[in-house]
Amino acid sequence: MITLDKAKRTKTYKIVGFQNAQNVQVGVLRRFFELGFETGEKIKMLSTSLQRKVFLIEIRGYLLSVRTSLLACVQVEIC
């Protein structure tokens, strides 16, 4: 099990849980839930920015770019 900020490009992951992470406020975690992050949901890593500070992911059939540090609160395992 890893956190989503450590994920590799083009791989698909399954969310296994959420954890408290530094710099991730309640509002951000709530926003993730609103956007469809849910235990058991699949996330595909599509691309990263040059310095890996932003990830482009596919979730629930749409594309989302998220600052990598925020994804430290999402625990995933490879599918």
Partner: protein, 693 residues
């Protein structure tokens, strides 16, 4: 009167629907956060007057950014009769999440499903969905204005939404609030502290009464219910919303930035030098043909020379000069709008997040800054889509450094007169200089008074879309209208004021006939010593700069008023349209560069300042103006003296001197860095100043 709120996810087509229903022309774009404030307009349907209020996009009733707060506050206020919840048919699952939030709150909702593409991802049975939710559901196409009458009919019908089944699962000890409606419990589950603080309630006590993972539980219930709904009411294809093969190129780490910069260079080249210049010259010729007989008529009609001068100089001369730039300004807005509509902006924000993060901005700032190349006033407002207050302030402060379209006449007329065909490099250089100065200012602000907190860059990728010919026509017409209104109001008024001040003395004698010093010359001469160190110690230039505080286009028309520009000239923009008399205003090419630099960086127009006041408050607007004036002066001073040195000592000598200076600066910085290294980490001899051990 029926008050109706238009609510939906970002980029679901709310403003397109608003424009269609109210026959308005509000700004739209393929980007999350184009609408940043509530907009309202009344329209009539049958016998009913409907006040439609367009709100910024939201994902739920828990706001994260400033513009979301505007929309949620409006919904929370309850000051409306109905809500149109617009859902994007291609992303129905997430859009219906918001619908559930609205039903939970007890809002009277009409669900409008917007068909944005020919091959949608979801095919919905609206009748079944309506039965399941107990609300009116109607399928529409906002862009093509299909089924809008059906939607309007739904507004006059009353519906009672079914109670959502998962609400019975809400548990917890809410004490005295047990009898309250479900919305109170939902807010507790969502851990929305702002909501409870607003009602002066003990947040900690309430949060302790709900399960620890209540937020996750609630969102799971909602998504499970949406999935259940869609399994019976909709069919889904396997497409991914927003995914495109072009992204493999547009986001490629080697190609992404060259593509972006090439695109930008192409836009500026077409605007300033090829298509834009051709159209400008064409319009110039047309204006000349039109104004000549009018001037002949005026000359014959008025015996008094000052009345003829007023029309000839202030109106036809001053305004005419700026009017010929209409094609270039409109073209720039058109290209920016096409860029905005294409969906490429989100990709640019993604690419720039790395770089912008280092200077304390968000990748989303790129939208505001790029829009700043069009008009700073409207661009400043878009800074609202930042989540961090300091990032919002910084973005708004930096926006005026992006050279706005109003400065195009200054660069082309003044620069063209002195640099001829080489003006292309001068203009490009000015644009780049504005960006460089903005980066430096941002870095300084980030290290001092506006330190950025952790920003929440979460941005959806919209699909790529082509701009329709109808939309191109609308953009062109809208911008022509705005420009002509500005020319017809502000420009004419300002030119008449400047002409009166420059033609009459304080004793109200007409200086052209009776001689003496005009009011403007007297005022200009008071301020000109301040501008002497930057090579602009001429009263006319100072007066032009002062008049530019109202609108930047007035700078050029003011110089035209002082008999500086041949308004009837229709030469190529790379050639001079300045009359020889005006050459004395600028002592040398160094003065011209200094003038252009100062124009690029000094205080923006009065409309931008008032927008800054609205967005960042009095204190930060005052700071912003002070920074801009100081920066403009310092940079103009540096540009003036370096250019002067090139003229006096020659290119080689100055290059050697500048190289030596750079070496010295680098050496000093290295020494400082090494000294700090020792202080930073005593136990480690290998790390740098930013040691993380």
């Amino acid at each position: 009167m029926l008050d109706v709120l238009l609510v939906g996810n970002p980029n679901s087509g709310k403003t397109t629907l608003f424009n269609a229903l109210t026959k308005s022309n509000e700004h739209i774009g393929n980007w999350h956060g184009v609408t940043v404030e509530n907009k309202e307009k009344i329209f009539v349907f049958g016998a009913e007057e409907i006040r439609l209020i367009d709100t910024p996009g939201i994902y739920s009733l828990c706001p994260l950014s400033f513009e979301e707060k505007v929309a949620v506050e409006k919904i929370e206020s309850g000051a409306y009769d109905k809500i149109i919840n617009l859902c994007d048919q291609n992303n129905l699952q997430r859009n219906l999440y918001l619908t559930l939030c609205l039903i939970e709150k007890g809002c009277d909702v009409v669900l409008a499903i917007n068909e944005m593409d020919k091959k949608p991802i979801f095919k919905v049975d609206c009748k079944k969905l309506s039965e399941q939710l107990g609300i009116n559901v109607v399928s529409i196409n906002a862009e093509k204005r299909i089924n809008l009458e059906e939607l309007n009919k739904c507004l006059t019908k009353t519906c009672n939404a079914h109670k959502l089944p998962y609400l019975s699962k809400l548990s917890g000890d809410f004490g005295q609030f047990s009898g309250e409606n479900d919305y109170f419990k939902i807010k507790a589950y969502e851990k929305d502290s702002t909501f409870f603080e607003k009602h002066n309630l003990d947040v900690q006590k309430i949060f302790a009464s709900v399960p620890k993972d209540s937020m996750q539980m609630l969102s799971k219930w909602r998504y499970d219910f949406v999935s259940q709904l869609l399994s019976t009411c909709a069919k889904r294809t396997n497409q991914t919303y927003g995914k495109s093969k072009f992204d493999t190129v547009a986001l490629n780490k080697w190609l992404a930035f060259p593509i972006f910069f090439l695109l930008l260079a192409g836009i500026f080249y077409l605007t300033f030098f090829s298509l834009g210049a051709f159209l400008s010259n064409l319009l110039g010729d047309l204006l000349q043909v039109l104004t000549k007989p009018m001037l002949t008529f005026l000359e014959k009609s008025f015996s008094s020379s000052w009345i003829f001068d007023l029309f000839n100089v202030a109106i036809f001369g001053g305004v005419g000069t700026v009017l010929s730039f209409l094609p270039q300004i409109v073209l720039l807005f058109l290209f920016l709008s096409i860029l905005e509509d294409s969906g490429y902006m989100s990709r640019i924000a993604f690419l720039f997040e790395d770089i912008f993060g280092k200077i304390g901005l968000s990748g989303k700032s790129i939208y505001t800054l790029l829009m700043g190349f069009g008009c700073s006033t409207t661009a400043i407002m878009t800074a609202r889509n930042m989540d961090d207050k300091n990032a919002k302030r910084k973005t708004a402060i930096l926006c005026p450094y992006m050279s706005c379209s109003a400065k195009i006449p200054i660069y082309t007329v003044i620069g063209g007169a002195f640099f001829g065909a080489n003006n292309i490099f001068c203009i490009m250089g000015l644009y780049v200089l504005g960006v460089i100065v903005a980066i430096i200012i941002s870095k300084i602000l980030d290290k001092t008074v506006l330190k950025s907190q952790t920003q929440t860059f979460i941005l959806e990728f919209p699909p790529y879309r082509m701009t329709s010919p109808k939309r191109i026509g609308k953009i062109l017409w809208q911008n022509v209208k705005i420009f002509l209104t500005k020319v017809g109001s502000v420009m004419i008024c300002m030119n008449i004021i400047v002409w009166i001040l420059s033609s009459f003395s304080f004793s109200f004698s007409y200086v052209q006939n009776e001689g003496g010093t005009s009011m403007l010359e007297t005022i200009g001469k008071i301020f000109s010593p301040i501008f002497a160190p930057i090579g602009l110690d001429n009263w006319a230039i100072v007066a032009a700069l002062l008049s530019g505080l109202v609108a930047k286009e007035v700078v050029v028309s003011s110089i035209a008023l002082f008999n500086g520009i041949d308004a009837s000239a229709t030469k190529l923009i790379s050639q001079s349209v300045l009359l020889p008399t005006s050459l004395v205003y600028f002592a040398s090419k160094a003065s011209v560069l200094s003038f252009l630099t100062f124009c690029l960086l000094y205080t923006p127009c009065i409309a931008s300042v008032s927008m800054l006041l609205q967005e960042i408050g009095k204190k930060w607007t005052a700071i912003c103006i002070a920074i801009q004036l100081l920066t403009a002066y310092i940079v103009a001073f540096v540009v003036y003296n370096i250019t002067l040195a090139f003229e006096v000592f020659g290119f080689g000598s100055v290059c050697v001197a500048l190289f030596t200076l750079c070496v010295v600066v680098v050496a000093i910085l290295t020494i400082i860095r090494k000294t700090r290294k020792g202080k930073c980490c005593a136990n480690c001899s290998t790390c740098g100043a930013k040691c993380k051990k």
